[in-house]
């Protein structure tokens, strides 16, 4: 999980988990079903237009509200490759790491990166560069214990290694 490339979808501040996956869809745990309703509260056509590897760039407090892990499942199975935000609500952040969806904090990305632009995230060198070369913004370093779980692809494979049940 060192570099990702994808097209940018921009969202604002306080995108809560009811917008990411409304409660009415939570009685079905099928990832494909959840993915078909990803971001429905914030953008009606997101789930039909998102492509594999696309990157969400958002403002402050992304993923606030309910602890529902289906928010991450919906985004991941819709094809989202990474989420970059000025800040994350803590449970969403943990859920994303645990399910192997890269989450990166960048103070400036939301202001400087344009919707629809293709960008390249270099997690190791902590930068986001627009494909047209026009913009480069910094990404905050990922805490070591968080990076370790993401490198395993999430908490399930990480714990399997720990328990020796692989």
């Amino acid at each position: 999980m060192s570099t990702f490339e994808g097209r940018v979808w921009k969202f604002g501040d306080d995108v809560n988990t009811d917008l990411i996956i409304p409660g009415r869809y939570l009685d079905n745990y099928d990832p494909a079903y959840l993915a078909a309703h990803a971001m429905e509260g914030a953008s009606k056509d997101f789930s039909s237009k998102v492509s594999n590897g696309d990157i969400i760039v958002a403002g402050r407090n992304f993923g606030c509200g309910s602890s529902r892990e289906q928010a991450v499942i919906a985004l991941k199975h819709a094809g989202v490759g990474a989420v970059v935000a000025a800040s994350f609500a803590r449970i969403f952040y943990r859920n994303a790491v645990n399910l192997g969806l890269p989450v990166l904090i960048s103070r400036d990305a939301h202001d400087k990166v344009r919707e629809g632009l293709s960008v390249r995230i270099d997690a190791k060198h902590r930068s986001i560069t627009a494909s047209d070369g026009g913009v480069q913004v910094a990404v905050e370093p990922m805490p070591e214990h968080v990076a370790r779980i993401l490198e395993h692809g999430g908490l399930v494979p990480y714990i399997k290694t720990k328990l020796g049940t692989e």
Binding site: D14, L26, N28, S66, S67, E69, A89, I159, L163, T165
Partner: protein, 423 residues
């Protein structure tokens, strides 16, 4: 060396280290873990991890509350599966459909106790702070990790200390104070932090009222919210009784990331909405907004004192035509007590509809889902667009008394017109 905050003490003890401070990452073993319908996801991840037996079934609490009784065949299957998991794993602290809301039961059943570390796969796990526990919400997969290993990494949070003084004004309730705090602190102002409530005002409010404050701290981003031990609950919890309070309180010289002083007396009845909890203000700014549904219930405000406050407003009055009043007690015990005290009769006589104990329509799954154009005033905790159903509906948050007075008028209405006594 500076003294320690209550969270620093609890998390150091839970992770078996002599000292740990805000910013340190620890591997902690919880005293209690709780999950609801998402136990289905917990168990799925638990199996995928290759684990078979949970580290300590006696510490696991499972409550069916979010979609109860089952709203669909799918939910019914999930409920059945969870009953099987409970049986297979020997989990005795299981609360089936109709017992109540998980956060309510943790306190009511005295499962949550002072100075405990409680992890719940629900964002409102902060509610347990009302009895001095450090309650934090986590996700389903990491709950599976806790089941498998008994451990979870946690960063010890900084603490915001909110010191509150004074007395509640006429027809003002802890919910109004919580909404005022949400407006002041904002949706992420307490992100990653613990909020500690202290000060003389706390002696004015019951454990139920303290649960409202701790519950709503989740809407400010808080990782946990906590009330240090005091005489209100130390008599019920001998572990923090006289001479033993040190482990249940922050040290006088503990380091807080910030301190706030709140004078409660001038706070009026508050309303918040639509769409953002922090969009809260004096009810005067919202009065007259037509409402088609009024909901009293949820882990925030479905307790006995909430139903009683609503019944005082509703006594001898009728819900306006064009408005539906729905009431979901937070637990079977609350329902039973509210029946004994006559509150249920009053609510039903006024035209209210009683729902079974549980989360009710708060999360938009069943029992009062909103359609396009509906406007709901609710005693719950979130007014996000689409939260209770249609994203073309609006949700406003308020205290149960304000919800009841609004139901009578069919528009947002000041409860001071209906509650003319100082409580």
């Amino acid at each position: 060396m500076a003294g320690r905050t209550l969270s620093e003490k609890i998390l150091a003890r839970a992770s078996g280290v002599a000292d740990a401070r805000a910013g340190d990452v620890v591997e902690a073993t919880p005293d209690l873990v709780m999950s609801h319908e998402n136990t289905f996801l917990v168990n799925k991840a638990f199996s995928e991890m290759g684990a078979t037996r949970p580290w300590d079934p006696s510490k696991i609490v499972i409550v069916l509350d979010h979609r109860t009784p089952a709203n669909s065949m799918q939910t019914a299957s999930v409920h059945s599966k969870i009953r099987q998991i409970v049986k297979d794993m020997g989990i005795s602290k299981f609360y089936d459909v109709g017992e109540g809301i998980c956060h309510q039961l943790l306190v009511e059943e005295k499962l949550a106790r002072p100075a405990q570390l409680i992890l719940g796969s629900d964002s409102h796990t902060t509610t347990a702070g009302a009895v001095g526990a450090f309650g934090a919400g986590i996700g389903a997969t990491e709950m599976a990790g806790v089941w498998a290993t008994g451990k979870l990494w946690l960063k010890i949070p900084e603490t915001i200390r909110i010191s509150m003084s004074g007395h509640l004004g006429k027809a003002v309730f802890p919910k109004d104070i919580a909404l005022m705090l949400a407006a002041k602190i904002g949706s992420s102002g307490a992100d990653y932090k613990c909020v500690e409530f202290t000060g003389g005002f706390l002696f004015d409010i019951s454990i139920s009222g303290r649960m409202v404050l701790c519950n709503m701290a989740a809407e400010m981003g808080a990782k946990a919210a906590i009330v240090p031990a005091d005489s209100t609950f130390s008599t019920w919890y001998p572990e923090c009784g006289e001479g033993k309070t040190a482990s249940c309180r922050s040290d006088p010289d503990a380091a807080f990331s910030s301190k706030m002083e709140i004078e409660v007396d001038p706070i009026p009845p508050m309303v918040s909405g639509p769409d953002k909890v922090e969009a809260a203000g004096d009810i005067a700014k919202f009065e007259g907004t037509p409402v088609s549904q009024a909901f009293i219930g949820s882990c925030t405000n479905g307790r006995l004192e909430d139903l009683i406050a609503a019944s005082w407003v509703l006594k001898g009055r009728k819900v306006a035509s064009g408005c539906r009043l729905l009431v979901a007690p937070a637990s079977r015990q609350v329902l039973s007590d509210a029946m004994d005290m006559g509150a249920v009769r009053t609510i039903v006589a006024a035209g209210g509809t009683l729902l079974p104990p549980g989360c009710g329509p708060c999360l938009g799954a069943h029992g009062g889902v909103l359609g396009p154009g509906d406007v709901c005033i609710s005693s719950s905790n979130r007014n996000f667009k689409g939260r209770m159903g249609s994203d073309e509906a609006e949700i406003y948050l308020a205290s149960p008394a304000t919800v009841a007075s609004s139901a009578i008028e069919g528009r947002i209405a000041d409860p001071r017109r209906y509650l003319d006594v100082d409580l």
